[in-house]
């Protein structure tokens, strides 16, 4: 049997890939968001955000993270809070639109609703971004993830209410627009530059073509 090519695609992925059979442990640099989240959960459940309580939560989080280690998440090392905020506001709007869309199809179209299974190859190589794109597109109108091909960053989606090839292409463009927004918010510097080069100088103000 041909041995699998496990040469890492780049350094960020090398951090998480298990190439030599040795399980990588997450370093503190990779794990601090998880620790913060666990401390937040502790404070929220006790409904008490005093210093002493949070400190005890921190001790518990460190014990839990060491008892039940997770594979390290590769952080992109770049975050743009302004694009994050824009993404979040856009996302909440899309969640509203999704419910209206599903309600419309459920009540009016009913059994006649046709759909499509489409493949969307993404530009990114980061697992984190592929995962986030999958989550976002599941919660916004029309689509959800049926399968993922990790080695080529391809998502296989079920797209609701598609009746022609033109609509399939439009659906693909929508997903790549989500990816563009996410890379602008949390993508690595390389991918951010690539997106900027692809979209031209006025990329941040450009509206997605509907």
């Amino acid at each position: 049997m041909q041995p699998k090519d496990l040469t890492p695609r780049d350094q960020r992925i090398d951090d998480a890939l298990d190439t030599s059979g040795v399980r990588h442990r997450a370093t503190f640099k990779q794990e601090w968001p998880l620790l913060l989240l666990l401390i937040f959960v502790w404070g929220a459940l006790w409904q008490d955000f005093s210093i002493g309580n949070l400190l005890f939560g921190a001790i518990l989080s460190i014990i839990i993270v060491n008892l039940f280690p997770l594979p390290p998440v590769v952080l992109p090392g770049r975050i743009n809070l302004w694009y994050c905020l824009k993404l979040f506001i856009w996302f909440i709007g899309q969640v509203f639109a999704a419910s209206v869309h599903v309600a419309w199809i459920a009540v009016v179209r009913g059994k006649k609703a046709r759909s499509a299974l489409i493949a969307v190859p993404l530009r990114t190589e980061s697992d984190l971004i592929v995962m986030t794109v999958g989550h976002v597109l599941t919660l916004i109108p029309g689509s959800f993830v049926v399968d993922v091909d990790r080695s080529s960053s391809t998502l296989y989606l079920h797209y609701l209410d598609v009746n022609s090839d033109a609509e399939v292409e439009k659906a693909r463009a929508n997903i790549r627009d989500i990816e563009r927004r996410l890379i602008m918010a949390i993508g690595s510097p390389d991918e951010y530059e690539a997106i900027k080069a692809e979209e031209g100088p006025d990329f941040s103000t450009r509206r997605p073509s509907k």
Binding site: V41, V102, F144, V145, D147, Y156
Partner: protein
């Protein structure tokens, strides 16, 4: 002011419940498993958000807000995963009504792979998919 807030709470709670109702209607009227997953994931996430917002305003306590945010955040994280797992399992066990699909680009990939390895499970890593894809488009 209190009266006004109570009206807001009432509107939010009714709208949130309405979203759950829509999810239920969708589950009945959609033609196949994959379409039904849309009804199961989307409206209830918004319904949850509206119910939580109504609850937070009604109880008028800031300390409750982190709990509600946490609950909604976990909902955002888990709803897509459950839809993905059910959809994926449903597709592989042939519970998908093929006649409702306009195109099926996953079928080719899975059949190519299962010919090569002789099984239909676990195709999360398929070599050469990208080449296939560019050929097609």
């Amino acid at each position: 002011m209190d009266f006004f807030l109570e009206i807001v709470v009432a509107v939010l709670l009714v709208a949130g419940s309405l979203m759950s109702l829509i999810a239920g209607i969708g589950l009945i009227t959609f033609p196949d498993l994959l379409s039904r997953m849309h009804a199961a994931t989307k409206p209830q996430v918004l319904g949850f958000l509206l119910l939580f917002a109504g609850l937070a305003i009604h109880l008028r306590s800031w300390i409750l807000v982190p709990v509600l945010v946490l609950a909604w955040g976990l909902q955002l994280l888990t709803a897509p995963v459950s839809a993905h797992m059910i959809g994926r399992a449903g597709y592989r066990t042939k519970h998908v009504a093929k006649e409702t699909l306009h195109v099926d680009e996953l079928k080719r990939v899975i059949s190519t792979h299962s010919e090569a390895t002789g099984n239909t499970g676990a195709v999360t890593r398929i070599e050469g998919t990208k080449a296939d894809e560019t050929e097609n488009s």
